[in-house]
Amino acid sequence: MTKLERHCRLLLKAYPAAYRRERAEEIVGLLLDVTPEGRNWPTGRDVRGLLAGGIRARAAIGQRPFSTVSYRTPVLVGIATFLATDAVADLRQSARFDYRMSWYWHWQGLITAPLILAAVVLAWLGCKRVYVFAAAWDAAVSLGYPRSWSAGSMTSLTRKRPLVQSQYRPPSFTRSAGHLSRQRSPVC
């Protein structure tokens, strides 16, 4: 199997498994014909087309007349969207490091947000158990810290940050820059 073919098969994972069983051979054949000689990956247009096609095919799973519509897909998409926006909000807040923020918020966001994002992507690719895991993780992280009880994870953007200086411990990379960390913070 050439590199190109392997990459094509990897991209085809955007499609649901049942669809792949039916169509994968045919699509890979077409991609091998279409892609210019000497490339290891299909062209950008084809990559975009496959990803979009995969999402469409997944959205079309179990499409039935309206009276028997399945709520599975919309519910899963809703959960995924919630987790993803929450993770992005966390990440944005944590990345903008601020001396008023405790070390806890800093690392909690930087570590868990990418994990949740990865989980959402995996779940989209068909790994169902990860949904439960990601939701549990998000809930545990939000509830595990008493200060966030009032806010909950849904309001990451408006979360109240602890202002107590004794709690503040800069992360290791700022501590190594001695001249910076000795400076008095303008806020506290």
């Binding site: 051979e25 991609l31 084809d46 496959l50």
Partner: protein
Amino acid sequence: MMREPTYFVLASLLQGPLHGYAIVKRASELSGGRVRLSAGTLYTALDRLTAEGYVRLISEQVVAGRLRRSYGITDEGSAVLSAQAQQMAEAARIVTESDLQQRPGPLTRKARPA
């Protein structure tokens, strides 16, 4: 109203059944290189057209280790395609056959007083 890629997929099958790669080439030829179908677009269109009964699977063969399926247009498909072509021709006629002499000149900005 049919989307352009769908229109050209159907149009490329008018001369007879074709397989995926041939459809991509033919659609590009017919449109003067404007319509470049990606694999994803082509198969999304073929899935839908097959489900609607406008296209059907004609044959399946393995050529040089690759699976090739040929698709052909159905009678229903040709009817829908010509209805669409008719509609587009009528829309085009409004512009192409208007009396060029009687048309007011192109809109130009009024000269500003100095």
